[in-house]
């Protein structure tokens, strides 16, 4: 945070300035001659994501609505409040749409669910915090699979993410932001008033994730006040969860750091909609400016400044304008990948019953002849592809200098339960043996021994899943599919693994799917010693010192729930 701004913020909070007056302007007042949209209320019945829980909803349809055209829309969380006197969204929409300052949009208003009581002596279960203050994709799933389809039955809603906005107030702002964060393929515009980015149910973690994660195509307008949860006798804040104004500032700067199109308006109000309601027309104009130009990701301008430090920045790894491209079609499953020095990539194809090869142009061919039910592939020295086949329990090496495998030779037999292996320059092999809970070592003469029993680590290592060697091949990294931590071991002269440390601390997926745990799979290293882990959040890149510094987005969405 810039020291000067932080100082201003803290001084403002410390002396608890009297709130500035905010009033609704002419854009929030009905204007004669302006076409008026209509608001239709309905109840969305209980569905899959919030069982037994109906949602009160409404739809604003602009007077200019053309059913023949896909129509952009915004979803307002706490919909009843957005329709009410503090925000007057339908009036603002009428005025701005009539002047073509925002597109002729539909507004969808949804209140948080309330589970009805069984008898009058019972209390309801109120879902607001559960639905909105959540890092999981459940609320996004609810919007995409239940609310939006219900409205789309009657109105021609656009499917373009650039045509879809979300708006939330307080905890609702977290819900709006998280829906876009979890589904940037669906939502590109977020309006956040007095956002609750504090330590309640995980939203305080967002700035750290935003700074690490490859930017997503989201434009966000933020507003908060220096007296939000601040009173004269408690200038440090009134809530167990932290400081609203400081955390909004921290969130804003994280988004700036990562190059987002973001604006923060910091006023003097408390946790209310006085300022938000007053600036709603300006916020909507800013959020929808340049429409229909798409919202795209870009590097922060600082990348091109002389004082830019490239160390541990996602922009030092990726080209933001070169996202993932899909290669080939739909394969059954790919659990192991490796590559030769000529740019060919290999993976076991269990449906075709062979190992496939993808050349640098993206062309996929069968490298081995069926039936070959290999499960793991690793590239070794001398253009040799090592494969492990569970049915034979053998590791076999073959030449990749030909279009199909040639010169096959068996390296070792009867290795049951191998989950991954790594090959050294000397031709030695480390392998995860799931059946005996060990990491095995096969020296270059073909002699096998146990390098590590992970039961000896007092339960700290749970489920090894992937192996990779450091560039100098002095260390072996072992990823753990359950634990938050993956391991670094030093390789002793006799090949055994020593001095293990739970060195790499992963960011965890927010999911109720317990089998996922950390979900860490394979690992690899770059020539600088950065370690790359395949995880449910994307590729997490650890600095040599064990910190996750970068996260490359998955192409497809994170686990549900």
């Amino acid at each position: 945070m810039r020291p000067f701004l932080l100082s201003l913020l803290l001084i403002s909070a410390a002396i608890a300035l009297p709130a500035q007056e905010y009033t609704l302007g002419p854009d929030s007042q009905p204007q004669d001659g302006t076409p008026k949209g209509t608001v239709i209320k309905f109840v969305l019945p209980p569905g899959k994501y919030y069982p037994g829980t109906p949602h009160n909803c409404a739809v604003y349809v602009p007077a200019q609505f053309d059913p023949s055209k896909p129509t952009p829309f915004m979803i307002f969380l706490d919909g009843g409040q957005a329709l009410g006197s503090s925000m007057r969204v339908p009036v603002v929409f009428d005025n701005l749409i009539a002047r073509h300052e925002i597109p002729a949009m539909i507004g969808i208003f949804v209140d948080p669910g309330i589970l009805p009581v069984v008898s009058d002596t019972d209390q309801n279960r109120y879902n607001r915090i559960y639905e909105y203050d959540s890092m999981t994709p459940r609320f996004a799933d609810f919007l995409l699979n239940e609310l939006i389809p219900a409205v789309a039955k009657s109105y021609n809603l656009s499917k373009s993410p650039d045509d879809r906005g979300l708006s939330g107030v307080s905890t609702g702002a977290v819900g709006a932001f998280m829906a876009a964060w979890n589904r940037p393929d669906q939502f590109h515009r977020v309006l956040s008033f007095i956002g609750t980015y504090v330590a309640m149910k995980g939203a305080d973690r967002l700035p750290a994730l935003v700074r690490r994660t490859e930017p997503k195509p989201i434009r966000i307008f933020m507003q908060d006040g220096t007296n939000d949860h601040i009173v004269p006798t408690q200038t440090y804040g009134t809530s167990f969860a932290g400081s609203w104004p400081i955390n909004n500032q921290v969130m804003y700067e994280a988004l700036e750091f990562e190059g987002y199109d973001v604006k923060l308006v910091m006023g003097t109000e408390g946790h209310n909609l006085k300022q938000g309601g007053a600036i709603l027309p300006d916020a909507l104009r800013w959020l929808w400016r340049d429409y229909p130009q798409p919202v795209v990701v870009h590097e922060p301008a600082a990348v091109h400044e002389p004082d830019w430090d490239p160390v541990a920045k996602v922009f030092s790894t990726i080209y933001v304008d070169k996202p993932w491209q899909q290669i080939g079609g739909e394969f059954h499953s790919i659990y192991s990948l490796t590559a030769d020095r000529n740019g060919n990539v290999y993976f076991p194809d269990p449906v075709a019953g062979c190992v496939d090869r993808v050349d640098a142009t993206g062309k996929v061919t069968h490298f081995t002849e069926p039936p070959d039910y290999a499960s793991i592939v690793r590239m070794g020295v001398g253009d040799q592809l090592y494969t492990y086949e569970p049915s034979t329990a053998d590791i076999v090496a073959s030449s990749t200098l030909t279009a199909v495998a040639s010169g096959e030779r068996t390296i070792i037999r009867n290795l049951a339960g191998v989950k991954d292996f790594a090959v050294t320059q000397k031709g030695a092999i480390y392998f995860i043996d799931g059946s005996s809970a060990t990491i095995g070592f096969i020296d270059s003469a073909g002699e096998a021994k146990t390098a590590l029993r992970w039961a000896d680590l007092d339960g700290e290592m749970t489920l090894p899943h992937g192996l990779t060697l450091s560039p100098d091949q002095s260390m072996l990294v072992v990823s753990d599919g359950v634990s938050r931590y993956s391991w670094s071991f030093q390789i002793a002269p006799d090949g055994s693994l020593e001095n293990g440390e739970p060195f790499y601390r992963m960011e965890l997926p927010e999911t109720t799917m317990l089998p996922w745990q950390s979900g860490t799979r394979g690992a690899m290293e770059d020539t600088a010693g950065m370690v790359y882990f395949a995880t449910p959040l994307g590729i997490q890149i650890c600095m040599e010192n064990g910190r996750v510094a970068e996260i490359l987005n998955c192409r497809r969405r994170a686990p549900s729930r």
Partner: protein, 54 residues
């Protein structure tokens, strides 16, 4: 069970002729790739990495 289409990254590798400056990532049955500004380590080249930032 995870919802349809909600798979984790299942495998990764560096690749590229000469410098391994592409990342390939598998997500269930789909394979993706992108060019990157870094270079992958491999089994056949042993090199001492720089001292890390502490």
């Amino acid at each position: 069970m995870p919802a349809p289409g909600a798979e984790p990254l299942s495998a990764i590798t560096f690749s590229g002729a000469g410098d391994a400056d592409w990342i390939y990532a598998a997500q269930g049955g789909k394979l993706y790739r992108r060019p990157v500004k870094v270079t992958g380590a491999n089994a056949w080249t042993v090199m001492k990495p720089p001292k890390p930032t502490l």
